[in-house]
């Protein structure tokens, strides 16, 4: 972290490898358009504000997802993310230079599972995405979504119970 604050590119490569996957995955699961670009926005915003951060690795991970969560909310409300001119120019250059992008595997989310996920409330989906894809703890998730820990536990419990009821094994028949 100290090297990252000094502007060491190697330190930032380590951070990017560690965080880019979960952040991009979270943004994709939550339906953000162009999740890779959104994840790069998150990454650059962290770089711009790294001087203000002081804390543990867990706190840093929480901060990353706080910014990612805010970016997701911006996307849902069709708000333009804040991005510096430098980041804009760099992104354009990267997209121009890297002509062939490897297709991102979208995973095996069957229609059945997708429908089950869509029946959940927004808050329940946020919590499950942060916990399963982002790899956050209950405490970290509570901080990201601005809820207390008890509420987060309740949300995830109800979400799983609903999924269990909606799948064929638990269908209620008359």
């Amino acid at each position: 972290m100290k090297d990252a604050k000094l502007g060491d590119a190697w330190a930032w490569a380590v951070i990017y490898r560690e965080m880019a996957g979960p952040v991009t995955g979270f943004l994709r699961v939550r339906g953000v358009a162009a999740p890779e670009d959104a994840a790069s926005d998150v990454f650059f915003e962290i770089a711009r504000n790294i001087d203000r951060f002081s804390g543990s690795e867990d706190a840093f991970r929480t901060l990353v997802f706080v910014i990612a969560y805010r970016r997701m909310v911006q996307d849902k409300h069709s708000l333009q993310p804040s991005r510096s001119r430098l980041a804009d120019r760099a992104l354009d250059r990267i997209k121009r230079d890297v002509e062939v992008m490897e297709p991102v595997p979208e995973g095996d989310m069957t229609e059945e599972v997708r429908r089950a996920f869509e029946t959940l409330t927004e808050e329940q989906r946020d919590v499950l995405s942060l916990r399963v894809v982002g790899g956050l703890s209950v405490e970290q998730t509570a901080e990201v979504v601005h809820r207390d820990i008890g509420k987060v536990r309740s949300l995830q419990r109800k979400a799983l119970a609903k999924v269990r009821r909606l799948t064929p094994a638990g269908v209620v028949t008359l």
Binding site: G7, W12, Y16, G21, L86, V98, V104, V132, R164
Partner: protein
């Protein structure tokens, strides 16, 4: 018609927190009922899995490092001299402002303190009364009496001294009534000379140092009134423009 409800799973929503944590971590289901949950969690993990391109990792890392360097404030050591000069200049400016404020406050406090003991006629008596109207040094009636006592004790104010006649012109204090009698005779017009002569004579009888003869004084007053009759009431406009008691009367007016 009888309706029967057949379920294949546990309808209870309650899941222990321990079971929830195990399911979210993708561990094996506790029971067959939890299989749908395991399927969802597995699908989310797979759907969110992202393969990073090394080219992007390299580019983004360089860019992030550049952003950090550009966002970082300039080191203090590079601007030590300028910073020191600015600091000293700011210090001097603050000191001057503070000193000015101190002098102003001290001056105002001093004037207020000095004005508190002012008596009528002093240059700062107006300040004293003005401050009292704000409740500062307001001694009320007691202060007014003290001011009066100070004047009567022979501590005339500057203004009193300025308007007083020179000491050598005052003369003998015992000659005051005689001087007053002469003054009454001297001032005024010719038409009122008889009246003023009568008044002068009465004053001389009053202050001649002998025993006062009330009957003689009354006779003199009657004689004076009989010569000139009762005083007529002045017209309304003259009442309104009656001379101020402190001002000398206009010559020619009785």
């Amino acid at each position: 018609m009888r309706t029967s409800i057949v379920t294949t799973g546990d309808l209870r929503d309650g899941l222990a927190d321990r079971d929830v944590e195990r399911l979210l971590a993708g561990e094996s289901p506790v029971s067959q009922d939890h299989a749908p949950i395991v399927s969802l969690v597995s699908a989310l993990v797979t759907f969110g899995d992202t393969t990073l391109q090394e080219t992007l990792v390299d580019e983004y890392s360089k860019l992030a490092a550049q952003l950090v360097r550009e966002s970082r404030p300039a080191p203090i050591t590079e601007t030590t001299r300028t910073g020191t000069r600015h600091y000293l200049f700011g210090l001097k400016r603050r000191a001057v402002a503070g000193l000015t404020a101190l002098v102003m406050i001290s001056g105002m406090t001093g004037v207020a303190w000095a004005s508190d003991g002012a008596v009528p006629g002093d240059w700062n008596y107006g300040i004293d009364r003005a401050l009292e109207s704000f409740g500062i040094g307001n001694g009320g009636a007691e202060e007014r009496l003290q001011e009066l006592a100070q004047i009567l004790d022979g501590q005339p104010s500057d203004k009193t001294r300025r308007h007083a006649p020179p000491s050598e012109s005052i003369g003998d204090p015992d000659a005051g009534p005689a001087d007053a009698a002469e003054s009454v005779t001297r001032q005024g017009s010719d038409s009122s000379l008889a009246v003023r002569s009568g008044v002068s004579e009465i004053l001389r009888h009053l202050f001649n140092g002998e025993e006062i003869d009330d009957a003689a004084i009354a006779e003199m007053a009657r004689t004076l009134a009989g010569q000139h009759g009762p005083p007529e009431d002045p017209p309304a406009n003259q009442q309104a423009s009656a001379p101020h008691p402190g001002r000398p009367s206009d010559p020619g007016k009785p």
